[in-house]
Amino acid sequence: MTSRIRTVLWLAILSALTLTGCADASGPPSAPPSITATATLDRANAAITLPLDAYGMTADEVATVQAAQQIVFARCITGSDALEDVTRDAARQELDHRAEANHWLLGYWDADYMAQHGAAPAISQVTLGGNLEVDKVKGRECVYSDNFEALHVIDRSTVSNDGAAQKLVQYSSEAWDKTVADPRFQELQAERDACLTDAGYTLDQNSKLSGVELRDDWSAEERLKAQLAEAQCADSLDFTQRAANIEATYEQQAIDAHEAELVTLRQKAAERVDRATVILIEAGII
C-alpha cells in the first residue's frame, strides 16, 4: 500500500468517525469527578462547612455586619447620628441571631440538633429598621446608599448588587446545581426518600432536594415531626456527609479555577467586618 493510499484511508476513517460522532469535539458527557474534597459537618450546631465558605463571611461575621447595617440604615432614615432604642434593639437582635446559611443546604439532618432547636431559618428574621417608622422612598434610597452598600454581606446565600460578592453566590450555586444533578447524589437522595416514604410521608415534588412534603394545614407539631423524620432518615444513611462531599468536590473545582478572585473577595469581606465592628463599638452596641 502506498503512502498516498494509506493517507486517503486514514482520512476516510477519520471522516467516518467524525460523521458518526465518535470524534465529536465536545466528547461524551463527562463522568462526575472523583470525590476529592470533604465537607466538615458540625453536629453540635448542624453546620456544614464547604470549601467556598472560607472565602465569605462566617455566621458571626454576617451577624456583625447586619447589626451595623441596622445602625447605618437608621442614621440615614433619621438624618441623625443619635440612635433610638428601637435601632439598638434591632442591632442587638442581629448580633444574637446566628443564621447558619448551611444548616439545611442539603435538606434536614442532625435530628438531635433539630429536636432541640427546631428548623431554624437560614436567614436573619430581623426587619431592617426594627420598629423604626420608615418612608418607603427614603428607605430605598438608604438601602442603595454607599454607606449601606459598603456593609453588604458576602456569603454563599446573600444576593446583592455587588458584582464581585455575587461571584461567591454564583460559584456555590453552580456547585449545588452540579451536586443535585450528580447521579451519585440522586442515588443517595433516592435512598433517603425511600426511607421517608417507608415512614409514611409524601415527598416534595417541587424541590430538587425532594425530601418531606410539608403541608400548609399541618400544625407546628406535625411539621416538626415530619422535618425530624427527614433528618432521621438522612442521619441513618449518612446522607448529608456523603452528599456534602460531592458538593465540596464541585466547590473545590471552582476554587481551583478562580482562587485569586476568591482571595480578593475574602479580603473585601474582612474589610467590611472591620468597618462594621468599628460602627458597633462607636454606637456602644459591643
Partner: protein, 405 residues
Amino acid sequence: MSGKGRRLAPWIIGALLVGAAGGAAAVAITHPAVDTSAIDNASQNLWVTAEVVEKPVRGAYAISGQLSEPTLAAVSPLTGSGSTGDSASETAPTTAAQGKETGDEAGGAATGSLPQAVRRVVSATVLTAGESVHWGDCLGEVSGRPVFAFPPSAPLFRDLVFGSSGSDVAALQAVLAEAGLFDLAPTGQFGPVTLAAVKALYQRHGYDLPEPVAGRPGMLLGDTAIVPVDGAKVVSTAPLGAEITAEQPLLTVETAPARVMFRADVLQAEAFAVGAAVSVKFGSGDPLPSAVTAVSAFQAAASSNPAGYDVTVAVPEGVDVAAVAGLPVVVTEAAAAPTGPAVPLAALRRDDQGATYVLVPAAGGATAGPPSRVDVVVVGQDAGWAVIVENPALPVGGVVVVSGQ
C-alpha cells in the same frame, strides 16, 4: 614481594578460606537458618478483629428538671346576693311564688343565703387532713349551713331554685350525678327530678331542703364552694369556731402534689410516655425510681426550652420535698433504649463514593483469603460503637476486621 613470599601467599589465602568456611559452618550449626516467610505472611495479614455485639442505639436520655412545690388552693363557701336572678323554666311546673322577687331573710339559715352581715363561722367540721374531696361532697358547715363541693367549671352566681334554668343548673345536675343522686343527662332545667336530687343531697348530710325564695325550694349559693380538682387532698381545715376569711379558708386542699417537671423534645418524648419508668436524682443523691404521671400537649419552643412536651414525674416516695428544694434534678429514662447489632466505630470504612462498609474475615482466618466487604447502615452511635441495621451477613457474634487490612 620475595620468592618466599610468593610461595606463602596461596597457603595464607587457602587458610583464610578454610577459616571462613569453618566459621560459616559454626554459625550454621549454632544459628540454624530461619524461614521468614511465616513472619512475612503474618505481618501482611495480621488482622485485629472484633465481635459484632448487641448494643443500645443511643445512651439513656437524662434531662434536667425542676422540682415544683405542691399546688394548694383555698376553699370557702361562695358569697352572693342571694337573688335567683332568672325567669321560670319553660318546662318546669310553675308555682304560686314564681316570678316573685327574691329577698334575703335575716338569719335565714334554712330559707335563704346568709346576709353579708352574718359572721361566717365554722360550726361543724366534716373532713380531716389527708382525706380526698370529690365534687358533690359536703366540705363542712359554716354558720349552720352545709357547704358542697362544685367544680370550677360550674358558673355559680345565684341561688338555684325550682324553675331555674341555665348552665349553672346543668352544672348542679352534673354534681348531683357525681353524688349518685341524678341519673339523667343534665338538662339545665330545675324540674322535679332535680329538686328531688337536691333534697336527697341535703338530707344525706342531715339538712332540710332550703327555700331560697319563699315557696321555691332549691340550693343556696352560700351552700356551695369551688374545689379546683376532683379528688383534691385536704391539707388543713379551719377549726371549729374559726371565722372564715381570706386568710382562713374553710379548707386548704392540694390540687397537685409536689412533682418534677421537664421539657422533652420530640425525639426524647418517645421515652417518656405516661407510666414510663424513670429515675430521679436530686443533687448528688442516689437515683430514685419514679414514673411519668403526665405529658402535656405539644408546646412551641420558648426561651431555652425546645419545642416538645412538658413531662411531669411524681416525686419518688420517701423524698422530703423541703429538703431537696433548690437542688439540681436529673430525670433519666429507666427503660433500656432499643438495641441492634453494633460494631466498633474503628471498623467502619468508607469508599470513594462515601458508602460505609465493614470487612468480614474469610472463614479460616487471614491465611484463607481476603476479607469480604459488607455494606452497613449506621442507625446510632454510643461509646465508641456504631449500631447498624440488621444484616444477615453480620449476625451478633460474627466478626469484623478492625485493622490490619
